[in-house]
């Protein structure tokens, strides 16, 4: 447990350093855009594929529950609301942590243990500005882009599954969507995706950047990155849940 708090503290200090560098240095937008497009393209197929099937799972589950109360007209609304609010951001950030996060941690870790980061420092370049910032903002921006794509695919996919498996037509499915969702739902989904994206990017950059001990250390850093990312995302899910509920509870 004390190891966990130790990690959390060092992680927060790393965040402060990123923030400091962001405010105090000049930036070039090009590397950030390059990273964003690379991350997006690399994970797009995974996100689309799993988004489609996650929509299907939710449709079947909600249908089984709602059919007991003859309330299948609510299927579309419940499904879309759950996808946008909770499941979409969560699944996409889990996948992003496994795919992009592990890759970033391994890349930065290898650079660290082969002393490439020290070489960059020797040449008078700030490694946080040069290496971390583009990756960090690349992952955060990519998580938003992937979320919007993934949500679109999974809502359309669940409409298809509802038509094929639950005997609803697409119009019936779409009819109840506005009852449960509005612009604040979408905003809360994107807010969550941004927060989870910051967590994925921060944890993975941190674990890679501070890797020690040769090739084995890189492997350890990658595993730790995956575990800590999932853990922090689940905790953040709880905190944002409380917070967004308060926000929405007052507005609706």
């Amino acid at each position: 447990m004390s190891a966990f708090f130790f990690e959390l503290g060092r992680f927060s200090l790393f965040f402060r350093e990123i923030w400091h560098t962001l405010l105090n240095t000049k930036h070039n937008l090009r590397p950030i855009i390059a990273q964003t497009s690379e991350v997006t393209i690399r994970s797009l197929s995974t996100v689309v594929f799993s988004g489609f099937f996650v929509g299907g799972i939710l449709v079947v589950q909600f249908n089984a529950v709602l059919a007991q109360y003859d309330a299948q007209i609510f299927l579309g609304g419940l499904n879309t609301s759950a996808l946008i609010r909770e499941v979409g951001p969560l699944i996409i950030s889990f996948l992003l942590a496994g795919k992009v996060g592990a890759f970033t941690a391994a890349e930065l870790g290898t650079m660290r243990v082969t002393e490439q980061i020290d070489a960059i420092e020797c040449l008078g370049t700030n490694p946080i500005q040069y290496l971390i910032l583009p990756r960090f903002f690349g992952i955060v921006l990519a998580s938003m882009i992937l979320l919007s794509t993934g949500l679109l695919v999974s809502v359309i996919g669940s409409m298809g599954f509802a038509t094929a498996l639950c005997g609803l037509n697409p119009l019936q499915f779409a009819q109840s969507i506005p009852r449960f969702t509005d612009i604040t739902t979408l905003l809360s989904g994107f807010l969550r995706a941004a927060i989870y994206g910051v967590i994925v990017a921060g944890v993975c950059c941190y674990q890679g950047y501070t890797a020690t001990g040769g090739a084995k250390g890189v492997g350890r850093a990658v595993t730790r990155a995956a575990i800590y990312t999932n853990l922090y995302i689940v905790i953040a899910n709880y905190i944002t849940g409380l917070w967004i509920h308060l926000l929405l509870g007052e507005s609706s």
């Binding site: 609301s81 996948l95 090739a215």
Partner: protein, 246 residues
């Protein structure tokens, strides 16, 4: 050898694991140590994750119910069914894939690139039988136990939320739960967990045995194993949900 398809390797390794089932009695100790390293060591992280997700999901479902049906009286049934049928199964499976699955791939992958697998072959031991079977059995047992454990924890959290936030008493909640949740749901949960536990170690082992090209190769194989394992689990989850949930 290099161009062999992933799927043929996968079935090769599954066959190895099945053939080695006859060795189970005399390799009991290794199986038990795998259960400890896969299951028991994942217990803290899975407990923490399921506590948080239980709290979140039960308050989310309550909010949705209130909005759809203007009543919170159905919270026990809805949360109970959702936890038993989906949440308590999916969360431990996903976490175990990214924790234990990655560890399995990394272990076998580094044995491969340091030529320890070739050393085993020289000793006339088939590594696909020798290494995979204890992991395979161990993760099946571990995931089924972890799933039952996380269902219990998540239900307890949902009960706590219902009592604190929505004014149920424990007796009311459990009565309503009993009407809507049956032993069949628990059976479905066990079947799902068993299938996930049987599939993901084979995926991880396949990537481990296929990995090549030094330390970088192990890293790539680990990443791919986690992503493929998660996607395969989602697809299997969908199929099983469609077949078993009515």
């Amino acid at each position: 050898m290099k161009t062999r398809f992933w799927i043929s390797d996968f079935f090769d390794i599954s066959g190895g694991a099945l053939r080695a089932l006859t060795h189970m009695p005399r390799r009991r100790k290794e199986i038990l140590s795998q259960i400890v390293s896969i299951g028991v060591e994942s217990l803290p992280i899975i407990t923490l994750a399921t506590v948080f997700s239980g709290v979140v999901v039960s308050s989310e479902i309550a909010w949705h119910m209130d909005k759809a049906l203007h009543t919170v009286s159905m919270i026990p049934g809805f949360t109970g069914q959702f936890i038993l049928r989906e949440l308590g199964i999916a969360i431990p499976a996903m976490l175990l894939i990214s924790k234990a699955g990655a560890a399995i791939t990394a272990e076998i992958g580094s044995m491969k690139i340091t030529e320890q697998l070739d050393a085993l072959k020289l000793l006339k031991i088939n590594p696909k039988e020798y290494l995979v079977m204890p992991i395979w059995i161990g993760s099946q047992v571990a995931l089924v136990c972890l799933t039952l454990f996380s269902i219990a924890i998540t239900l307890a959290c949902a009960l706590g939320i219902a009592i604190l936030n929505h004014g149920f008493t424990a007796g009311e909640y459990l009565n309503a739960l009993e009407k809507l949740v049956s032993a069949r749901d628990l059976g479905v949960a066990v079947i799902k967990a068993w299938v996930f536990g049987a599939v993901f170690p084979l995926v991880s082992c396949t990537y481990g045995f296929r990995c090549q090209g030094g330390a970088q190769g192990v890293g790539t194989a680990t990443t791919q194993a986690v992503v493929t394992g998660t996607m395969v689990t989602i697809v299997i989850d969908f199929v099983l949900t469609y077949l078993l949930v009515r």
